[in-house]
């Protein structure tokens, strides 16, 4: 197959000294789905942004359709036929589907008046042509995320692009929506479109792509045919060493009950029952996973434990004490908490790293304050930050740097480090590895296993069944606010848990 795009020795340096792309050369063939994989910070997005004209390269050349090109903004790239669907969807929620699609290429009548009739017809034509299941008149804010993604693709097809760049397109989709997207992408490929697909989910890459290019730390590791690739092989290429996907727990007997919810009920302000009679126990040295499709009560459970909402009835006990309505500081003495939402709940992203590291510690540990808690001791904070950095292998310039300058994986490590060093006997983890790359996930998993070995009790909420099976001793399944099953991990399997998550009842073979 002929190459449609050739990127030759692309270099990108972010001042002062971060080499994001180190002479990366890659060729994309016409009519293929080409996956670009790598860990966070490997340079995948930067490479694609250079191709799309969002960022200039410091050196290197690009050949597109046999001609040397250089796009100075996305508009030029789109005109040439290269379009990109970004990770965060860039549509105007207040506009209808057709308004979003035609924006920038609007058909007009005399005097700049929008030709609404023609615009709608053109958009409907495109929807039919590509067999998208979309309503051109629906407002974007009223449609699902998957449909919004389709609108983004449609918008590019409306501009007649032949190369589609997709930046982590599945990260916003539910598991049920992914096969549909893949079907559509494959159909586009069969129509002659070229699709460049950025991802760090290896299963997806193996399922969808024709060829795979692996980047690591700004360098190209290689391009391989998907048919010849394996998950373990790819992971090794990405991380540069072997990654183990099997269970890493050692056998140990669990101790006394550390955490317990008793007949916990929660009804939301709209009088909808969100949690019904929830009983969960976690013992020392035990990891209990909470499985469930998102929105089945996990969020409410976490918020109840942390005291963000109050239960309608029932109680929560941690380390032998009823903490249901205890003030937050009392809870924090017993419960370490890694929230799902790093940016809003886990950290103050505009504060510096050291300030984030000592949060809560500064209330519970005398050494961080002087004058009876009124003055912070920044020397102690700095040395503690250094301790966390060493223990949790965090890549950062200094504790003075602002938290949001860290990569996603390192942000999570900072939060994890802070929480695990609280030495609270019970640990609540809400999606601790969401959005992290393979290497960081492995690292976080190892730390969680370490906590288990230290006889702490861990309750972990995760949407990733593979993760739950890898780490947990028991899995409780939540469905419509109820715990529908409490299973020993070794005695169940993914099929059974998946079935319970969807149906709420036991699988009958």
């Amino acid at each position: 197959m002929a190459d449609i795009i050739e990127m030759d020795r692309i270099v990108k340096i972010f001042p002062p000294s971060l080499v994001a792309l180190d002479a990366v050369s890659v060729k994309f063939a016409k009519g293929e789905i080409h996956a670009i994989v790598g860990e966070n910070g490997a340079g995948k997005s930067t490479l694609m942004k250079i191709l799309y004209g969002m960022q200039p390269a410091d050196s290197g050349e690009m050949v597109y359709n046999g001609k040397k090109v250089k796009f100075s903004d996305p508009g030029e790239a789109i005109l040439a036929g290269i379009g990109m669907v970004h990770q965060e969807i860039m549509l105007i929620p207040q506009y209808t589907v057709w308004e979003n699609v035609v924006l920038g290429y609007e058909p007009v009548k005399f005097g700049g008046r929008l030709d609404v009739k023609k615009a709608r017809e053109l958009v409907k034509q495109k929807i039919d042509e590509f067999g998208f299941n979309l309503n051109a008149d629906a407002k974007v804010e009223d449609i699902s995320v998957a449909a919004r993604q389709k609108v983004e693709i449609l918008k590019l097809l409306f501009r007649n692009v032949s190369v589609l760049i997709m930046d982590e397109p599945t990260s916003v989709l539910t598991p049920q929506e992914i096969p549909q997207l893949f079907g559509e992408l494959k159909r586009l490929r069969d129509n002659g479109h070229t699709i460049l697909f950025i991802s760090h989910h290896l299963e997806e890459v193996l399922e969808l792509s024709d060829r795979i290019t692996v980047l690591r730390k700004g360098k190209k590791v290689g391009t391989i045919k998907t048919a010849e690739a394996t998950k373990a092989g790819l992971a090794q290429m990405m991380v540069g060493r072997e990654v183990i996907f099997d269970s890493i727990r050692k056998n140990q007997t669990a101790g006394a009950v550390l955490f317990q919810t008793t007949a916990l009920n929660y009804t939301d302000p709209d009088k909808r029952p969100r949690l019904i009679d929830v009983n969960i126990q976690v013992r020392a040295g035990e990891i209990v996973g909470v499985a469930g499709v998102e929105g089945n009560g996990q969020l409410e459970l976490v918020n109840l434990i942390m005291g963000l909402i109050e239960p309608t009835s029932g109680s929560i006990k941690a380390v032998g004490e009823d903490i249901t309505r205890k003030p937050i500081l009392e809870k924090r003495k017993r419960v370490a908490f890694v929230p799902q939402d790093r940016a809003n709940m886990g950290a103050s992203i505009s504060a510096n790293i050291a300030e984030n590291v000592i949060m809560t510690h500064h209330r519970l540990d005398q050494r961080f304050t002087r004058w009876a808690g009124r003055i912070l001791d920044f020397k102690q904070a700095a040395s503690f930050t250094d301790e966390v950095r060493r223990k949790f292998d965090i890549q950062m310039s200094s504790g003075e740097a602002v938290f949001k300058s860290l990569s996603g994986g390192n942000q999570q490590k900072v939060i994890l480090g802070r929480e695990l060093l609280l030495e609270a006997p019970f640990i609540l983890l809400d999606q601790p590895t969401r959005g992290l790359d393979v290497g960081s996930i492995e690292y976080v998993h190892q730390r969680i296993i370490d906590m288990r070995a230290q006889k702490r009790g861990i309750l972990m909420i995760s949407a990733d069944l593979e993760e739950l099976f890898r780490l947990t001793d028991r899995i409780v399944v939540m469905h419509k606010g109820r715990v529908v099953a409490d299973l020993v991990t070794e005695k169940t399997n993914v099929t059974e848990v998946g079935y319970l998550m969807l149906e709420g009842a036991a699988y009958e073979a």
Partner: protein, 297 residues
């Protein structure tokens, strides 16, 4: 009867500059710019309008100069807020203060007067009598015989409404406000749209200014915009930019302003001149209560 006609005409006169400036503010509101500089643009327009009319003995030149003067103010805003990416709020405050200082300085330097300058050489913008209609009792006295700018304002309301909701420019304008990255990635520069919205805002504020110095009265006095730009800002925010809503709010304000004048017969003027501002506060309060109700539903 005369009192009612007087009140209505007073309402129209007071509403005109506010409505014009607010229409300008509406355009920048939709473009997603926090533009508080209508006050400064209007004052600049008033000064240059007077200048043009005085030197050329011609009111059309007055209007042209008023528009150019206000656009000059808008260009300063564009330079700082759009090109240099300074904070819009700070830029707006700076521009409003600059406008007061600059016009006062020029007034004193050019005309060697303090406070206000009036001269028979300044040609006012004419009132327009509409044949036939002017002879109808009551209605004629309201619809006919208004200042040219009043009719232009009516036209501007319709044009702005059309521009925002029916044209390609309008679709892009609102897109710039809702999500500028989306517009940028659609191949339209959001900054260009923002620049145009500010220039149009300058044109409308210039017209408002010319009405102050060449329509309402025929003179320029220091700081004669007297908070009208701020009230227009309140009107814009109150109705989230909707041009029709802005027209209604401006008329309401104009009415209370006229009412205040009328009440001067029985109350001290210090109290009656508070009426429009009290009305604004009440409107804000009613609005916030309504908003709260909406949110709890």
């Amino acid at each position: 009867m005369n009192i009612i006609i007087g009140l209505i005409n007073g309402m129209i006169t007071s509403a005109t500059p506010i409505l014009l400036a607010a229409l300008g503010g509406s355009l920048t509101y939709y473009a997603g710019i926090f533009n508080i500089a209508m006050e400064g643009m209007m004052l600049g327009g008033a000064f240059f309008g007077m200048l043009g009319s005085y030197y050329f003995h011609s009111w059309p030149m007055g209007i042209l100069f008023a528009i150019l003067g206000a656009i000059l103010m808008a260009l300063i805003f564009i330079l700082f807020a759009v090109v240099l990416k300074m904070d819009e709020f700070i830029t707006g405050i700076g521009l409003n203060l600059f406008s007061v200082g600059a016009t006062t300085y020029m007034l004193r330097q050019i005309f060697k007067v303090k406070g206000a300058f009036s001269s028979p050489e300044i040609v006012p913008i004419p009132k327009i009598d509409i044949p036939w209609i002017k002879d109808i009792p009551v209605v004629g006295e309201i619809i006919s015989g208004q200042n040219l700018i009043v009719y232009l304002t009516l036209l501007a309301t319709i044009v702005v409404s059309y521009l925002v909701f029916k044209t390609r420019f309008g679709l892009r304008l609102r897109a710039a406000g809702y999500n500028r990255t989306s517009l940028d990635t659609s191949g339209v520069s959001a900054n260009r749209i923002r620049v145009w919205s500010l220039i149009l805002c300058g044109v409308l504020c210039g017209l408002a200014g010319s009405f102050l110095s060449l329509g309402y009265v025929t003179l320029f006095s220091e700081g004669m915009s007297a908070g009208r730009g701020w009230i227009s800002l309140a009107a814009v925010i109150l109705v989230s930019g909707n041009p029709t809503g802005i027209a209604l709010i401006s008329l309401l304000f104009g009415f209370t302003d006229g009412l205040g004048l009328f009440m001067q017969r029985s109350l001290p003027s210090q109290f009656t001149s508070m009426v429009p501002y009290v009305a604004t506060l009440i409107a804000l309060f009613v609005y916030s209560v309504r908003l709260k109700k909406k949110q709890t539903i």
